[in-house]
């Protein structure tokens, strides 16, 4: 029987050759693989194209050189977030055997920000993480609402006919109060008719008279005793009846107090009606806190959007803790699936950049000319394993030429939950982008100025301020070519488009110093925005000067109209409640007093009667 031969020994050499070929092929293609990998991972993280011209991997030296890196700004696909001519990284080779990348140092040369791209860097199919963050931030931005600012139509503002009685709260509440008062009155009428207090009072008074006329000697001790006994019985009944009337009096007072309260609410309803009627007038707010958000609100959302995007993305890729994490795997011919990482305490993070330095030199004699230095420490996918927060610092070096200054300091502590991010950015003497303000019909050209961002985020809560200021602002008129707002001739009527254009242009074109500050606070996924600017203050002041009397007159007119509409109803409601009060006092309060008095009289008469008994005879129950 032939011995079973399990191994095919002669295949060893071809197999080794095959593996050798694979290794050689891999080494030959390694640069390309790394280049593609960086592009894919970068695009995955950023949510926009990341392009790399060339990668040069030298495993023996533990060095990787990347050339021509372009990272698209996800908000502006035709602009690069930054571009670097050359990046030299010293990597540790052993962690590569665990599919982990540990970079000791990185040196970046030729770093430039905001450069133009030749082709759009937008991607149609962003990664689930960056796509979700972008969607969430866009949803938040779309949901943020600011008050509108428009002076047009002011001339047609005073239209008192638009204030309809049925739309006024006071009218309906007064009618309700009248009906309620009538119902209470009807109920009390029934209750008091059944009570018949007059009969009881008359009977008590008659008894008092009888006692007053009683002759003690004629009655004798026995007769007095009998009379005193029957009187005490009557006093007892009278007491019970008085208590019943007393409780009715309490209930009546409670009913009346409720109606009085409702009557008091009519005043608040009237104030609300004034506000409602005023809102129909399309009168512009003259408060700066309302005007500034209307002017700069949309722009503010645009400024804050990238801040939220990058913060949320940082949370995605720099999560705290050591729980297993899921990442969508990179594209393959077959389904890519999900890659789950299992960080272990004391282990290597999936990605770690210990220290990176970038030097940026801007030549010439311009304001920004000089050397800048950026330092990143501790950029890692597992901050808990690294144990230290991510630090980022960008500042001007010594070789500065112009007065421009930029300083960025960021500390992202994601070592443990809750995460704590702190970012301070200040830039002075920089060119600020122009801003269209359609509601004022002007373009704000800030020229060179200063900008600052201060941000503090703890867990899901965020607070910060983004601000910029310029002392050399110029203004351009929007739509000037159409001849809008040309002055000359008769003064346009208040509220006309020409008047609004002319007024606003006259107001803003004189402003040279502009400051805008956007405060944001609340949840990271949907913070509240508060915008303030001295432009709003100036417009508010001018409006008060220009329109103060007009607006006061219009407001008085609508107040009078509201008063005329609600006055009769309120008067009827008041008189109805007053009538009810008078009835209750008359029908309950007065009888109650009479009952109390009659009871006291009876008590007094009994005492008087028993005191007159001869020989100091005392009767049972006598005092």
């Amino acid at each position: 029987m032939a011995r079973l031969r399990l191994f095919r020994w002669r295949a060893i050499v071809p197999l080794l050759l095959f593996v050798g070929l694979l290794v050689v092929g891999w080494l030959l293609l390694l640069d390309r693989i790394v280049e593609r990998g960086i592009e894919a991972v970068g695009t995955h993280i950023v949510g926009a194209r990341v392009d790399l011209a060339e990668a040069d991997v030298r495993l023996a030296d533990g060095a990787v050189v990347l050339r021509g890196l372009e990272v698209t700004n996800p908000d502006r696909p035709m602009t690069n977030l930054f571009e670097a001519d050359e990046i030299v990284a010293d990597i540790r080779t052993l962690p590569l055997l665990e599919q982990k990348v540990a970079i000791d140092t990185v040196a970046v040369r030729g770093l430039r920000f905001g450069t133009e791209r030749e082709a759009s860097g937008a991607i149609t199919d962003p990664s689930p993480a960056s796509g979700r963050v972008a969607r969430e931030v866009t949803t938040w931005a779309d949901a943020v609402r600011f008050p509108e600012f428009s002076l047009e139509g002011l001339g047609q503002a005073v239209n008192v006919g638009a204030v309809a009685p049925e739309s006024l709260r006071t009218v309906s509440e007064a009618e309700g109060l009248i009906a309620q008062s009538a119902a209470v009155r009807e109920r009390w009428d029934r209750t008091l008719a059944a009570l018949d207090a007059e009969r009881v009072i008359d009977s008590a008074r008659a008894l008092v008279e009888q006692l007053q006329q009683a002759d003690v000697r004629a009655l004798g001790p026995l007769g007095v005793t009998r009379l005193a006994g029957s009187t005490r019985e009557t006093i007892g009944h009278l007491g019970e009846f008085t208590e019943r009337v007393q409780s009715l009096d309490d209930a009546a007072r409670s009913d009346f107090a409720g109606l009085q309260q409702d009557l008091g609410r009519l005043a608040a309803a009237r104030q609300a009606d004034y506000a409602y009627a005023r809102s129909l007038l399309r009168l512009p707010s003259m408060d700066a806190p309302d005007i500034s958000p209307a002017l700069f609100g949309e722009a503010a959302v645009g400024w804050i959007k990238p801040v939220l995007y990058w913060l949320q993305l940082a949370e995605q890729y720099l999560p705290p803790g050591l729980d297993p994490r899921r990442y969508s795997a990179s594209g393959r011919a077959r389904s890519a699936g999900t890659t789950v990482t299992f960080p272990r305490e004391g282990g290597q993070p999936r990605f770690l950049l210990e220290h990176a330095e970038a030097s940026v030199e801007l030549g010439g004699s311009g304001l920004e000319a000089g050397a800048y230095r950026a330092v990143v420490r501790g950029l890692t996918s597992s901050p808990a394993l690294y144990g230290k927060p991510l630090e980022f610092l960008l500042r001007r070096g010594e070789a500065d030429v112009g007065p421009a200054d930029i300083r960025v300091a960021a500390l992202l502590d994601h070592v443990a939950a809750p995460v704590h991010d702190s970012i301070e950015v200040s830039a002075g003497g920089i060119e600020l982008g122009s801003l269209d303000l359609p509601s004022v019909g002007a373009r704000l050209v800030p020229g060179r100025g200063a900008a600052a961002l201060s941000l503090d985020r703890r867990g899901g809560e965020l607070a910060g301020e983004w601000s910029w200021r310029s002392a050399a602002v110029t203004w351009e008129r929007l739509g000037a070519e159409s001849g809008a707002g040309q002055s000359g001739g008769a003064r346009p009527p208040i509220g006309s488009r020409e008047w609004a254009d002319e007024f606003l242009w006259r107001t803003v074109s004189g402003i040279r110093n502009v400051e805008v500050a956007v405060r944001f606070s609340g949840e990271l996924t949907g913070p509240e925005l508060a915008v303030r600017s001295n432009v709003g203050d100036v417009i508010a002041l001018s409006l008060r000067r220009e329109l103060g009397r007009e607006i006061q007159r219009a407001e008085l007119e609508v107040r009078n109209q509201v008063d005329a509409l609600v006055g009769p109803g309120v008067t009827r409601a008041r008189s109805s409640v007053a009538g009810l009060e008078s009835m209750l006092r008359e029908d309950i309060g007065v009888p109650l007093d009479a009952l109390i008095r009659a009871r006291a009289d009876l008590e007094q008469e009994i005492q008087r009667l028993t005191r007159r008994l001869p020989g100091g005879i005392r009767i049972p129950g006598g005092r």
Binding site: R8, L97, G337, T338
Partner: protein
């Protein structure tokens, strides 16, 4: 074209005469791993080494690869679910995955990917059934269907054509 002809020839030979039914079935079972799991995964180097070093039918492995490949594509969502359940749905296994993920070289196997792990586990479970089914199938084919096809008029007619001569040109 040349490769395709050689491939067809080797498959036909595997079914008809080369190797025992056990060797062909073992080749098919191992080849199925290459088809069911993502081909460019490091564990497939071990499978290829096993096919080369163990006395299994290489054409059988190619047959297994060709038959399993479409199933691999079709069943990817299932593999994803199985892998996901094993990696994240079973806390008891987390220490094992943590160990594998943090072990040099072993972590290169990408067993922390849902599709890779799911397909590999599925193949491991199906390997023996595939082997036994293939062994029975090859045996029966050789006993019944194979000779009939050989003697069939269609095959005889095919052998008489120039195409068959062309096919024979590429015999290894």
């Amino acid at each position: 074209m040349l490769t395709l002809f050689k491939l067809v020839q080797s498959l036909v030979r595997a079914l008809h005469s080369e190797g025992t039914p056990q060797q062909v079935a073992a080749g098919i079972a191992l080849g199925a791993a290459l088809g069911l799991t993502p081909l460019a995964s490091p564990h497939n180097l071990v499978i290829v080494a096993a096919i080369a070093l163990l006395r299994v039918s290489v054409p059988g492995a190619l047959l297994g690869l060709l038959v399993a490949l479409p199933f691999g594509f079709i069943l990817d969502p299932l593999f994803d679910s199985i892998g996901g359940a094993l990696l994240t749905g079973s806390p008891a296994l987390t220490p094992a995955w943590t160990g594998i993920y943090n072990t040099p070289v072993l972590s290169l196997a990408r067993l922390n990917n849902t599709v890779v792990l799911g397909s590999l586990v599925t193949w491991a479970v199906l390997a023996l059934p595939i082997y036994f089914l293939a062994r029975v199938g090859v045996g029966r084919y050789r006993a019944t269907l194979g000779p009939r096809i050989e003697q069939s008029k269609a095959m005889k007619a095919f052998r008489a054509t120039k195409l068959y001569n062309f096919y024979r040109l590429f015999q290894p």
